[in-house]
Amino acid sequence: MKKFSFLVLFLILGLVLAACSSDEEATGSGDGEGGGDGEVSGEITVWVHPYTADAEAESAMWDEIIASYNEEFDVDVTIETIPWANRDQKVLTALAANNGPDVFYAIPDQMPQYADEGMLLELDPYLEDNNMDDFVDTALVSTKWQDKTYGLPILQEAYTYFYNVEVVEAIGEDPENLPATWSEFEEWAKKAKEEGFYAMSYQGGGSMNGTLYPFLWQAGGEVITQDDEVMINNEAGVEAFEFVKKMYDNGWIPEDSITAMNHDALWNAGDILAVQGSGISLTNLEESGLDFVIAPPLKNKEQLTYGTTGMFVVPSNSDNPDAAAEFIKVATNAESQRKFNTITQYIPTRESAKDIFDDEKYLGQLAEYTQYALPGVIHPIGRTIMPSIQAEVQSMMAGEKTPQEAADAAAEAIEAELAK
């Protein structure tokens, strides 16, 4: 009968726990409704990530940004550096428990998902006095969902093509005169194949942002609009599927491209003509000792590529939304962006702040390309549909489906996800 007494003990403890948690919820939601009127004061917590390996330099940078914020607003700002690993779970659990940050860093596919769930504060009422025209247009794409602004961008990237100069010369081409269109690239790819090189890397097991999507956008297509219109299997969409298929069947991309997570080994061995890369890849490339040149994003109908945007957002249950919104404005103004991006070596999202890379050969070049860089599929189901589209592209590459069939099946999967 000891079992029974145990049970009683369990029940009592369970009840106590339940009581505790509902208490928290009650007080938490009460707090959240405050704010909204004039005076900005109090305290805020800002969650940032380690953007570089140099924690000291970053912390000094944040101190400077806080100092310039404090010139205007008397608010205590606590910066907490959260490791990148499992950041999504950390943000979600903290927000769910109502003890999350007042400002946190978000990436493009999180934003619409969070905004659609009502988890983010709309920033438009705060932005009238904020110089919005200075932002690069593509940087603002990912901050908006259904015509409302939920974040302000602080950094951007642009993926483009890095060519191995040795391979370019080996196929008898000029490294000064790199392919700009699909057809020019195809010519080079054929030559590369003939000389025993792969033309391009293709990480079919990774994000679609590095594989199908850029080609889809270049073909003039789109995956899905913000109004839930599925576009992936229209003429432009199928053209992109066909292009991937063509590259794989002709051996322009490596045989394992269906699920490859990286082709670093092949690139480092000098077997690949071009890889996709961004500012992050620069450091590795410079260290690898390979002689490389950077080409602009390819163009078919449009000249577009992928490039993530990093932004700051305010959760809707922030205790101090006014101070948080003002902090984001200061953190993303030109001066702060200069500081932030000088340290982190990302590309500023304000045109006026791009002058930090004027003297840098490669970053200066990449900074010009952010105007072509789309942030991925901006839709709450953007992340959820990616595996289904990936699976269809994979079965097309393996020869189980034609490009048209694969695109149709992908569209069907997206429709099914929308219907959920």
């Binding site: 000891k2 927000l95 009502g118 990774g206 699976a391």
Partner: protein
């Protein structure tokens, strides 16, 4: 576990006197107060981190959990969606396939390695260390090396080796028929070292006189293995079978690191699918349904294993 069970049985026997509850509680307390006091921290931990999440995740399956704001009660919607979700069933099937590729080879390889180091071979301790090395190495590193070995291009290490015996380059992780086997191979490689240790301990506990008697009777080494060693390792078989089965149903990291679930969902396992639904798709309620499905599968498999493998081994 066994001691707890015995204890409970003992308590039930004592309880037959049917004293009033208050009296019994008091006696119990007087007798075992110190035990309860020492148990309390563990119990609280157990309640907060095991019982509460377990119970709450069941509640979650009936809600549309929005993370922030009020959850909406949707009844059996997510459970019905689960039974109609072809992908979930494919993920379960992939997981079952993975178990087939993984459990028996891991046990066999572990046993083989244990027999080698137990046979008194020279440098046995050194080999033990080598065989155990994958277990203590970070999975991310091992997976990286595995992915590099099994690269699907002509220059991949394994492709290069098999080219000498006239086999064409294989796609491995990029082939929907091979990817899961390559991943299972990785897990076998990673885990066989620890099953080896269990078997090694088991082998050491088999009484030596049985072997001596068998030798006097003139039994061959093969016969000795199948009639003495193998049956007497039954408790170890049971234990290893349970942990490798549970491990195989929870497989996630290799598919996350090496294939991203592809090609064409052929390496999407139940936990990987659960992760995608829960943490990429923010569909936490549906992910909770999937985790319950996983729980029931593991429970049923463990019960079956217990029925057929878990009986006490009588030595003589």
């Amino acid at each position: 576990m066994i001691t707890l069970k015995q204890k409970e049985e003992g308590i039930q026997k004592n309880g037959k006197k049917k004293l009033p509850f208050k009296e019994r509680a008091k006696r119990q307390w007087d007798k075992n107060a110190i035990v309860y006091i020492f148990l309390i921290p563990t119990l609280i931990h157990f309640l907060v981190f095991q019982v509460y999440p377990f119970g709450f995740s069941l509640v979650l399956t009936f809600l549309d959990w929005k993370i922030i704001g009020d959850p909406e009660f949707v009844g059996l919607k997510h459970w019905i969606a689960f039974f109609n979700d072809k992908l979930a069933w494919k993920a379960i099937w992939n997981t079952v396939l993975f178990s087939i590729y993984y459990i028996v080879p891991t046990m066999a390889l572990g046993l083989l390695l244990a027999l080698i180091i137990n046979s008194g071979v020279k440098f046995g301790g050194f080999f033990k260390g080598i065989f155990f090395l994958p277990v203590v190495t970070s999975f991310v590193i091992i997976a990286g090396i595995w992915g590099w070995l099994f690269r699907g291009t002509e220059t991949g290490m394994v492709n290069w080796i098999i080219s000498f015996i006239g086999i064409d380059p294989q796609l491995f992780l990029a082939d929907s028929g091979q990817a899961l086997m390559v991943l299972a191979g990785l897990s076998v490689f990673k885990v066989a070292g620890s099953t080896m240790i269990y078997y090694f301990a088991g082998l050491q506990s088999i009484p030596k006189q049985l072997y001596e008697a068998a030798k006097i009777d003139g039994a061959s080494a093969f016969r000795i293995f199948w009639t003495i060693t193998f049956p007497l390792l039954k408790p170890i078989h049971f234990y290893v079978a349970i942990i490798t089965t549970i491990g195989s149903f929870q497989i996630f990291d290799s598919t996350f690191l090496l294939t991203g679930g592809g090609p064409n969902y052929s390496t999407t396992t139940i936990v990987f699918y659960l992760y995608q639904q829960g943490f990429a798709g923010l569909n936490l309620s549906y992910a909770a349904v999937l985790s319950y499905a996983l729980f029931f599968i593991i429970l049923v498999v463990s019960l079956i294993q217990r029925k057929y493998l878990g009986k006490e081994t009588s030595l003589y």
